[in-house]
Symmetry: none
Subunit: 402 residues, 2 copies
């Protein structure tokens, strides 16, 4: 059985005044989603727990059946895995930003003018050694990067060096527990050495000459320990793949042992190439049991407070969904979290969810939206229960007991 799990990042909303009190899902023309709602079973889902706004990483951990409260310690491991770094359980990983600091280490630009050539800088950082641990640094998209420390006795319980604002000094990394003192020391040492290397780098001299902010510092945040996640195929007997642009989502899927496709044109924004994602999904469905197709642009529209852009993307994604209906036996649509255009941030409202395919106990829900799904046959479930429910409908549920 082939399964398509469509995850619409931040698509759920609250009633919007400019949409006449409807949510974007209620306002959009989306015949395919509504047809699946009629053919399937719907419900509400608390991705993490009621009232808890999920992050992208914790939400997707839950949607892949893991308990984020058990396995999540910070975003770093998922950034690093999303960047393609091969990780081992116990590694400490951090998100890094190339940034601009002045001679007093005061942060002038947290993204170094959204630098695009950070790869050249990352190469120079490879020479940095730290005593007793292995260091892996990789630049990803734009000013972004990931740092991994591998070795014994490391801890993720350290503070960010990123002050999360400009005009103040870059912070020292501080230990949050006794066992983290050495890790904090190593990270501060890496920061110092990286600053030296970056200050002297020809690319930054060139940027200064051109009036661009130099990328002369690395700001760290989101330290986390790489968890030991039982891979999807071992845990559920399901071979899975992921079609996504967002690095965090790709990282979660990679750590869950899924195939992660790189899709040129998939941007994670409103301008993403949905045809390219559709084609990648079709290819992935041929060689996998389950494909997670992640569309991120809803979240961007919500962060911009743009309800009509959100409605339009729902309608575009619905058309793409229509082109995928024939390729899967069972289709589930979920939202990872609510991002109301009125709030512009993730909130903890439950999200609509549907499952359509052989064996499902249909209900009376005729439209896929927040309020219609509240009356659905699934009732109100948790995010971490969705994949077990799908796996069970695939005929791969494993009995607990005799």
């Amino acid at each position: 059985m082939k399964v398509l799990l469509l995850i619409c990042d931040g698509m759920a909303d609250r009633p919007v005044a400019e949409l006449g009190g409807r949510t974007p899902l209620e306002a959009a023309e989306k015949p395919n989603m509504d047809e699946l709602a009629r053919r399937g079973v719907c419900g509400l889902m608390d991705t993490i727990a009621p009232g808890v706004p999920p992050g992208s990483d914790t939400a997707h951990l839950a949607l892949l059946g893991y308990d984020p409260y058990e396995v999540y310690t910070g975003r770093g491991p998922f950034e690093a895995a999303g960047a393609g770094i091969e990780l081992k359980p116990g590694d400490i990983a951090l998100r890094a930003n190339f940034a601009t600091v002045d001679e007093d280490l005061v942060v002038r630009d947290r993204r170094a003018g959204r630098i695009q050539e950070a790869d050249r800088l990352a190469e120079a950082l490879r020479g940095i050694k730290l005593r007793g641990v292995q260091v892996i640094f990789k630049s990803t998209v734009g000013h972004r990067g990931a740092l991994v420390l591998r070795g014994k006795g490391l801890s993720h319980e350290v503070t960010d060096s990123d002050p999360h604002q400009v005009g103040v000094r870059a912070m020292q990394v501080k230990p949050l527990s006794r066992g983290a003192a050495r890790t904090a020391r190593l990270l501060n040492e890496f920061s110092r050495k990286a600053h030296e290397v970056l200050e002297a780098h020809p690319l930054n001299e060139e940027r200064r000459r051109r009036g661009l902010p130099p990328a002369n510092y690395l700001l760290f945040r989101g330290a986390g320990m790489v968890p030991e996640l039982q891979p999807m195929d071992q845990r559920f007997g399901v071979k899975g793949a992921c079609v996504a642009a967002a690095a965090l989502v790709k990282g979660v899927c990679r750590l869950a042992g899924m195939e992660v496709l790189d899709v040129p044109g998939a941007t994670g924004g409103l301008n993403t190439d949905l045809d390219a994602k559709r084609d990648a999904t079709l290819r992935a469905l041929e060689r996998n049991d389950l494909v997670l197709l992640h569309v991120k642009g809803f979240d961007e529209a919500s962060h911009d407070g743009n309800a009509s852009a959100k409605v339009q993307l729902i309608e575009r994604v619905d058309r793409t969904l229509g082109e995928l209906l024939e390729a899967a036996d069972l289709i589930a649509i979920a939202v990872d979290h609510t991002t109301p255009v009125s709030v512009r941030e993730h909130t903890g409202d439950p999200v609509p969810v549907l499952i359509a395919g052989p064996g499902v106990r249909t209900d009376d829900v005729r439209r896929f939206d927040e309020r219609s799904c509240a009356r659905g046959g699934l009732g109100r479930i948790r995010g971490k229960d969705l994949l077990p429910i799908i796996v069970d409908l695939m005929g791969k549920g494993r009995k607990f007991g005799a």
Copy 2:
């Protein structure tokens, strides 16, 4: 207050094509269940957790208010308790099959021709001693039996010796953890000694002469450690009894401190004597607060893929239920797990549940079936929450806090 808890094993289903897309519950004429649905409050229940197919043992542990993830390590203790062996917390118990092996210990018949006279063999096995532990063996129905080891330092973390197929050698029991090496050694020693005793037993000589497969070997599976279960009367202040044929269910109820009635004619199959079970239930209600009446045949019909047999049994059980209505003040109907006739195995779909009696907040549900109950006032609950809800309606809920 007298409570009847009717548990219909595997009665829930998925839509069935030959029933016009209805489930057996939706297709059956069951005026009494539907009347209780009208008078009561309904809901859906995940006996263990969403998407997790329950076993009979884990399901009934949950339905009696225990968390199976905390107390369940294997079926053995419930088989042994169901066979009437008095157990102590910490005992290691295994399900045993009398089987036929050839001279190379290759399994020829996992049930020794469904031997009926195993009692005589069990008696001979009583002479087997193992150093440092007490050994209890009991044969139950047909080729079935249970083995219990009692002593210090034992572990349930051992493999089955039952290869679960014929034509291959009986397996050695292997330890799954360091602390289990001695237990594995003791079980292999018991197997060896039992083989010697059984090979030489006059009953087996007689069987060979008559062309029947000798019951010359014991195959073990489902090792578990007997958990410490707080008895129902201590935990809830409720005196409970169980009317069931299935050994696993009887075992769970016995370990929960309930009175377990033996009902001649209760077979656990489609031919079970429902009148005898009704009478036993009436007797048990006289001297108990709560009687769990378990009917197993639905599961058999489902394993056979026989939808119409399932519908007929629902209608028969409904008539029996009608004869019990006057005897209880509060009636709850639950299903322990879904067994779709299309799948023929337990699945993880949620099951319908209802509670009718004084004080319940009625809802609009007018029929007791999977899809009607999805709109019920109970919402979607967990199996382990059902008994506390019933106990609270009995006026015996214990306040947590001041």
